[in-house]
Point group: D2
Chain length 142, copies 4
């Protein structure tokens, strides 16, 4: 069964658009990042700045990201974004983001992130840690 | 009597913060810009991408901007922004933005913008145009 | 034989780093974009703002992008970026970007772009156009 | 006599321009920030990421910034930026930035920054500290 899905809506700002009048591609990766923070807040009930502390991690560093640009997003467009973990693995996971404008899919994004903690053997270092089962369970539909 | 004041609320995103953990200064000017678009939408009832067309202008180019950084804004902080035209002149105006976090003033911003239209003598050029009285009236309290 | 490869060097700026002290992921897509413009300038001898006009296109819109983040990039790091077209197809092409810091690969990026022109049947529309053979030839080693 | 002046040159990137085809205003504050880091590197001989450690400070936080936009900066424009401390005070200083395009002044910027150290009474807090005379002397012409 599919994992919990987070929806948000936002309006494309002037500052996010390029001389072609379209959202510049790097801005979508900001949208994806924020979608992931909000997804985790919604699933785990922890505000973004408290996430690392609450779960004993240093963060969710990104190791891979990608996007497919299907239709343009323009200044003033109202964007519906859904964000969902598509797969949890031992210590990493994938998030899928879908951006829809006027009911049509405009952009698909994908992030691979790591559940990263301090290395017990050397606290100056960071290493991937196993994602606790109770975390994964919070993303499962009841 | 004071002009119409627009309020919005937003949360500081990870991507907007610098290695000191604080919102990087340029991001505040994005917040100010968006505040001005939303103020005009609220006062004039015209969506941002339709503003220029609706009033026969090319836009509201910025000629001067400034900010005073009073207290830090951090990842996850909930920011209350108010935006208000502090003065209308013949063909330019000032917008004041105040950003408050947990009830305390964090940043004050100021923009000077021009009501800019195509030059009738040379449509390739842009020139300041008089702000119509009915526009200014829309910012006045009833 | 491999296509022409463009090299550039830059220093990571404070404004490009996040609270973890690392370049925020969206900034890499700005680096990739600029690498592609500079690659085309180097191969074709045309300044970026003149590219579209010189070749009768509207631009090189991005339809797909991705990155693999292998090692962190930090404030002040000197980054060596290479950009190279890995494949030309009929009307689209792939650009590969490699970012190296202190001799080690830090980030690999990939862009798929379209050679886009006005649709002769409807100049308000944009469509993929065949990439001229002489353009492709300019990317081939002598 | 005027303080040391740092010059740099850069090209306006596509990602920095808005739908009007002009550099979006917040980007100028990124240019100013980088100009200040490079000015300090040139005057003090210390790389930006080493600055705080070399002088026992936590950084140079910005408390006030402003810009006057005189002429537009467009995609591909080559910008000459000069950055100079216009005044050193006890524990703060002003930096002036001038951006020139094709020999004409396009933007004037101004930053007020603080020489900020940990509070000896409470290391969790930051406070303005006196700028050492030998630092100021490094900005004076020989």
């Amino acid at each position: 069964m599919a994992n919990f899905l987070h929806r948000r809506q936002f309006t494309v700002q002037w500052s996010q658009c390029d001389p072609a009048g379209l959202v510049f591609n790097s801005r979508f990766f900001e949208y994806f990042d924020w979608g992931t923070w909000m997804l985790f807040e919604a699933a785990l009930g922890v505000r973004p700045p408290d996430l690392a502390g609450a779960f004993g991690i240093v963060g969710l560093p990104l190791v891979d990201a990608g996007a497919r640009f299907i239709a343009p997003a323009r200044f003033g467009d109202i964007v519906e974004q859904t964000s969902q973990v598509s797969e949890f693995r031992r210590s990493s996971f994938d998030v899928e983001h879908r951006l829809t404008i006027r009911g049509e899919l405009a952009v698909e994004g994908r992030e691979t992130r790591v559940w990263a903690a301090r290395d017990p053997a050397d606290p100056a270092r960071i290493k991937a840690a196993p994602i606790p089962a109770e975390i994964i369970a919070r993303f499962r539909p009841a």
